[in-house]
Amino acid sequence: MKGTEAFQELIPLIKDEPVVHANGFICRESFSLKDREANFYMIGSMGLASSIGLGVALCKPDKKVIIIDGDGNVLMAMGTLAMIAAEAPKNLIHVVIDNEVYESTGSQRSLSSKVRLEEVARSTGYKNVLRVEKREEIKAAFLKLKDSAGPNFLLIKVEPGFDPATGRVTHTPEEITDRFMQAIG
């Protein structure tokens, strides 16, 4: 499965939940497929989507909060997995699109071909952890995690193959802040 296909499967499953996106192709795929006001596009600060999502989840306990992360981002901020597990917000779903490369910068290899990130999440103490490798598994896995008390972790293995023609986020960072805050109230 290509990364794009994972997004095509995942995005329609998201209703009104706040979603925090990691930088690079994660932002661009999601933005191009379906822009939403409740999407926070983190265009820089690699590694911090998970801590931003944790902050939102802790301060909005009545909303399900989704992080869409990448393997490079998770590897950069593995300590944040421990923070999420320790704070244990029930309303947090951490989705990782794992293509085993830093695709936005020319597909240099990451470490996730050798290190199972879902096992790292499990051992830190995430409540429910699933790993899927086929497109048709995404829907059931995501809905199961959405309906179970978290923090939950979904690893989606994909092949590299990001289309460089995919658009970039056109909103300014300030606009992203304003509309996200309004959308989540």
């Binding site: 600060s45 911090l48 989507a49 801590s51 902050g55 901020a77 944040t80 805050m181």
Partner: protein
């Protein structure tokens, strides 16, 4: 809520006393609700007070200062006013989080940063950062004040104005001896 205590010094002058407890209570009174950070001995009294708070006030231990910036950003996006406590060594770790996240997204945070390495008198690992931390803040366009008992009210007012009106981070620099240490 009483947040400062009037003491009479040996010289007979009245001064208001700044303690870890009174300062944290003052911050809570200013509507700061979400606290995170990486510890420093100079901030240990403050963190002890935060961990002693009851309802509504949360201190989340962060593993790194850049993760703490991310956490503060998330809290602010969710409508909660955040505070980040860290040693000045952490400024190096989180400078990019400020320049490529907080500052460009206009997401403010009150930063409480200890000043290790002041005037070159400290352990070797603190000397360089103790010398350059204020220059780094200035270069990044992040305003700051060195907190003291005397300027506390004025500085908190200025910080609130920067945070609420300009949506910028504001840093309070904490020198050794300003707050009690808990070991």
């Amino acid at each position: 809520m009483v947040v400062s205590v009037i003491l009479t010094t040996g010289k007979g002058m009245n001064v208001s006393s700044l303690t870890s407890q009174s300062f944290i209570e003052r911050l809570i009174q200013e509507d700061y609700e979400f606290f995170t950070g990486v510890p420093c001995s100079l901030l240990s009294g403050l963190i002890y007070e935060l961990e002693s708070q009851k309802e509504g006030i949360r201190y989340v231990p962060s593993v790194r200062e850049d993760a703490a910036v991310g956490l503060c950003v998330g809290a602010y996006l969710a409508g909660t006013m955040p505070v980040l406590l860290m040693q000045n060594s952490g400024l190096g770790y989180c400078l990019n989080a400020f320049t490529s996240l907080s500052l460009i997204y206009k997401i403010p945070t009150l930063v409480i940063m200890s000043w290790r390495g002041k005037a070159g008198k400290d352990a070797p690992e603190h000397i360089i950062m103790g010398d350059i931390d204020q220059e780094l803040l200035k270069t990044a366009g992040m305003e700051y004040s060195i907190l003291s008992e005397e300027n506390c009210e004025e500085v908190l007012k200025k910080a609130k104005q920067k945070i609420c009106d300009e949506k910028l981070p504001y840093t309070l620099i904490i020198e050794k001896g300003l707050f009690d240490e808990r070991h």
